[in-house]
Structures are given as structure tokens and as C-alpha cells.
Symmetry: C2
Subunit: 331 residues, 2 copies
């Protein structure tokens, strides 16, 4: 097997210079870099992550664990998280947990990951406990579960309270809601905050006007068809997130229901499509990009040293963003 | 260091049984699996990808190389590609090439990847040649470049020809276009196919009504503001892909220009948002999910054996999908 020693000999440089040249170190001259690269190419030498992991005892791969990779929400998380990990010298590996009661903990460990970001763990998941048992560092993303660990979360209260005041001022008396799944901390927490805020301003939310479903477009489309198709449906539809609200807006278009003339629709997340002129969704915003970068920093800092330090929780505040999908109550 | 031998001793099973139990092999009983997992946990044993790579001589990580990870197009590619790779026992690592003239080839090799899928390589990129020099297998995704290699591509002709006939039948005489970048094979090929098809049906495309830009929303928004804001703008706007067309549709909404009353707008890709009731974009469709899966199969089959076999090119056909953004010419 070709080693960096062989490359050093052929290029006429020291062995450490080979590594620095191939890693594009700024202190190595362009001429030396080229000489080393040519020698490496001539010999077919590839410095491998495997070799590096053996010599340093750890890898630089961070796993992002999600259940539903085709949920568009993650496309806005992956780019900044990948970018921040790259800045910190780490790579991003995607892992889905189709069935997280299965051997996912073993799989995560066998992948040789340095640490993982858990983005879809349900509150009853055994995964955090198993990772803790096996000594694999992890960070909760927009979630928390039983085991104490670093977390980046959203604090919905400020945005949700402002939205409740705004819709009460617009004359709305009764709301319908498509909430998230019961077994996620995010779903439960947003539902709790929304119910409290609506109650505070005297807007009623009857049990027959509430459905629950996944945080996706289809859930919103289906839920809105169910809730808005009825006689006497409320003038306000609260959605678990923007994707659900986009599904609901499209259902309204399919049902030929005027938004906001007959029903006002509200999301949560402020994803880029919500700002489109064609959409103009009223929503609750927070800095998702900053949150994705923070998760990357937390996991790398945990991996690189302070494993025994107390768990950190970084909470991102929310604001109410009124746009075209909220109007005065028609009643 | 704890090895599987230690786990086998503590659990009272053979060494191969440890590996099979931790990989959830169906032939191992639930009781044995539990015994092995408990022993592994008690000893803090983690079978690592590093160890496996050393014993087998190769990894199971496939890199997906893109320039602009925040381009929404990739979110529809990543999920099926990840899923198909998983089915074949491989993982997906995301790699961006912000500056592909830089040390990206070395970086790809140093990541210990088994192979890579190149999704954004420009025709003048040196990356394919460098990967070939270093013996790293790769597959072009929706692109080709100078070096002969496996590729999954789209054949635009059938869809584009049908679209040209449809708009000619609707009375359109002059088109404007927002085409893709000159230095990508996809941009060049679609532009060539579109120009030929329009000429065939007698629709003119004047040089002053053509702009070029990246395959993204902002390019469409900016291009449409430039092209549609003029007096005497054509009645038809052809876009390089759906994201560009979505940007153009939003620009039309911002400019209060009726679609399709004053201008008909056409995309390419048929991404899910194009099917929304709020959008209903007329577009050219192909099976992007099947193409993403095919790229995964090609790279794994190349990695696992037939490295010397001739390069394979799998082309996906296109169809014309008329929706609400195309109407009769107003003139």
C-alpha cells in the first residue's frame, strides 16, 4: 500500500508537508502543493479518512437523523447545518429512522459517526437512551425527549401570543386547528401554547374543529378538506406548521373557498415559499437557519471535548408575521 | 480496546454471532440478541465502520456532490437517492463544491468515500478528470462533462416538441426565455432543444427576449421582472426549470400581470409545488425519483465490481404537462 512516506520521497518533501499540501494548508507554497499532488497522483496515493480515524481515534462525520427525509422542512435545515459543519471540519451523513424501535442505535454506532443530531425523535423513543448507553454524543433538534442532552428548540410563546391578539382584534371568535402529532414534543408544545393564547383572548376551539397529523403538506390538505368543508366552519384555521398551512391553502383553492374572505389561515416556521407573492402566508417566524447552525456547533463542541459538561438548551424566540392569508372575520 | 471477542466471551456466544446479533440478523433469536446487546452495552463495545473498512478494504459511503445545497431541486433528489442507497447497504454523505477548482478532488478522496454522484459539474470542470486519475468511481447526475463515465440524464426532446406544438396551436407567435447557465450540459441541451422546437413550429425567439441565469427561484423572479416589464413583451415565457418558472410566476403576481391572460409561463421538471392548486404550472415532466434511484444503483454497481465495464448512460424521457399557466395568445 502506498503511504504518505512514498509520496514525500517522490516529491522530495517531508512527510508532514505531504499532508499539509494535500489539505491545501496556506503555509505551503503553490509550487510545493503541485509537486506533492503530482507525486500523489503518479503513485495513486489517497490519504483516507479510515487511516486518519485510526491515527486520531475519531471520525469527523456527524449524522442527521430524520424520519421523513422527503419532508421539505429539512431542505431548509440541511444546507446551513452542512455549511456550518464544513466550517468546523466535519461532514454531514443523512440517516433515516423508518422504524426507530429497530436496530437504529447500533446502525448509528456502526457508521462510525462522531455524533448525531436527532431531528425527529418522538417523546417515547428509546433511541436517546440507547445512544447515551453507548456513549454516542447527540443533540436534539427542534425536539426534546426523556434523556437530558444538548438541544436547540423554538420557544413559541411570543409569536403565538401576538398572533392570538391580532386575530382577536380582527373579530375572530371561533378557530379550527390542524395540530402536529401527539408523540412529538414540538407538536405538544405548540398545541399547548396555541390553546393557552386563544383562551387568553377569548377565541373558542371546539374539539370537533381539531384534527392532528404529521407536519406535512398532505396532512394540511386532508385536514382542511375535513374542517372547511362543513357548514358553519370557523373563520380561522390554525396550522401546526407552514407545510400544513400550504396544504390547507391549496385545499381552500380546490374547494373554491376564499382566503381570507371566508377563512383566515395561519402557519408556523416562515419557510421561503410562505413569502411568495402567490402565497403570502401569515405565520410565526423564528431563525431556522441560525438554529440549524447552532445545532452543528453544539454537536461539534460536544464531540470535541466537554462530554461531561451539563446539557445546554438554546431556545430561539418567535415573532408574528401577518401577511395576506389573515383578514377580518366575515361574521 | 474492547473487541467483539470480549463481547462474545461475556455473552457466551461465538464471535460471528456477536456481529450478526448487533446487525439484527433474522437467524439470531431475540433472546440471544438481547444477551449480546447487554454484553456490548456493559463493555461499551461499538462495532465501528472504521474497523469494518479496515477488514474489508472499502467503505459504504457514497458522496452526493452539489454546488448549491439550498436549491430546492435537490430536496426531491436526496430522499429517493438516500433510500435506494440504504436498500443497497450504503450511506449518503453530502458534499458541496463551493469552488470546484479548489482541492475538492482531494477532499472527496480523503473522506474515504466509496464513490460519488456528481450533480452540478460544469462542462469545463476538472473534477471528473481528477477523480478518474485517482481511481474514484463516479456517476453524472443530470449532467455530463468531458470524461466518459456512467450517467443518468434527461432527454428533453419529446416533451419540448409537444409543448411547442401546443403553444403554436394556442396562437403564440413570439416567445421570451429564461435559460440556464451556459456552462452546464443540462442548460445547453435544454436551450438547444427548445430553440429547435420553437423554430419548427414558427415561434420566434428574439435575442433581446432571452436571459440566462442559475436554475433557481431568484433567477426566474429577476429575469421575469426584466422581460415582462417591457412594452410589447412576448405572450409566452419559457423557463429553464420549475424553480425558475415559480420565480417568474411570482414576479408576474408582483407586477400584477395576469397569467395566462397576458403571458403564458412554462417550466421544466414537474416538481411537487408545480402541481399545487395555487400554482398549476404547465411544465415538462420526467421521473425524477426513478432517476435519483437509478443514480444510486449505478454508483453502487460500479463500486462493487465492474469498474472496467463501459460507461452506461440511462436517459429518462419527457412528457408535456399542460396546466393553468398556459392559455391562448391574447393577440
Amino acid at each position: 500500500m502506498i503511504t504518505s512516506k512514498d509520496v514525500a520521497r517522490l516529491a522530495g518533501v517531508s512527510q508532514p508537508t505531504v499532508s499539509r499540501a494535500l489539505n491545501d494548508h496556506p503555509k505551503v507554497s503553490a509550487a510545493t502543493k503541485q509537486k506533492v499532488r503530482e507525486a500523489a497522483r503518479a503513485l495513486g496515493y489517497a490519504p483516507s479518512a479510515v487511516g486518519r480515524a485510526l491515527s486520531t481515534g475519531r471520525t469527523t462525520r456527524v449524522g442527521l437523523v430524520v424520519t421523513d427525509l422527503d419532508n421539505q422542512f429539512y431542505s431548509y435545515v440541511i444546507a446551513p447545518m452542512h455549511d456550518e459543519l464544513g466550517r468546523l471540519g466535519h461532514e454531514l451523513v443523512l440517516v433515516t429512522e423508518a422504524d426507530e424501535t429497530g436496530p437504529i442505535a447500533e446502525r448509528l454506532i456502526s457508521l462510525g459517526l462522531a455524533g448525531v443530531v436527532l431531528a425527529t425523535t418522538t417523546v417515547d423513543s428509546i433511541l436517546p437512551a440507547r445512544l447515551q448507553d453507548r456513549g454516542m454524543p447527540f443533540v436534539y433538534f427542534n425536539r426534546v425527549a426523556g434523556v437530558e442532552a444538548d438541544a436547540v428548540v423554538v420557544d413559541p410563546s411570543a409569536g403565538v401570543e401576538a398572533l392570538a391578539r391580532a386575530v382577536a382584534d380582527a373579530g375572530h371568535k371561533r378557530a379550527a386547528a390542524i395540530f402536529g402529532p401527539h408523540n412529538t414534543s414540538t407538536g405538544e408544545e405548540r398545541e399547548r401554547a396555541m390553546r393557552a393564547a386563544l383562551e387568553e383572548v377569548g377565541i373558542s376551539l371546539s374539539q370537533r374543529d381539531v384534527v392532528h397529523g404529521p407536519f406535512d403538506f398532505e396532512s394540511g390538505r386532508r385536514g382542511a378538506h375535513e374542517l372547511l368543508g362543513r357548514d358553519g366552519a370557523p373563520s380561522l384555521l390554525i396550522c401546526a406548521n407552514d407545510l400544513v398551512a400550504l396544504g390547507a391553502l391549496n385545499a381552500a383553492a380546490e374547494l373554491d373557498i376564499d382566503v381570507p374572505g371566508r377563512v383566515s389561515i395561519i402557519g408556523f416556521d416562515d419557510l421561503p415559499p410562505s413569502r411568495w407573492a402567490l402565497v403570502q402566508l401569515s405565520t410565526v417566524a423564528y431563525d431556522l437557519e441560525a438554529m440549524s447552525r447552532e445545532a452543528a456547533r453544539l454537536i461539534v463542541s460536544r464531540v470535541q471535548g466537554d462530554r461531561g459538561a451539563p446539557a445546554r438548551r438554546v431556545a430561539f424566540g418567535t415573532t408574528w408575521v401577518p401577511r395576506a392569508t389573515v383578514g377580518p372575520s366575515p361574521r
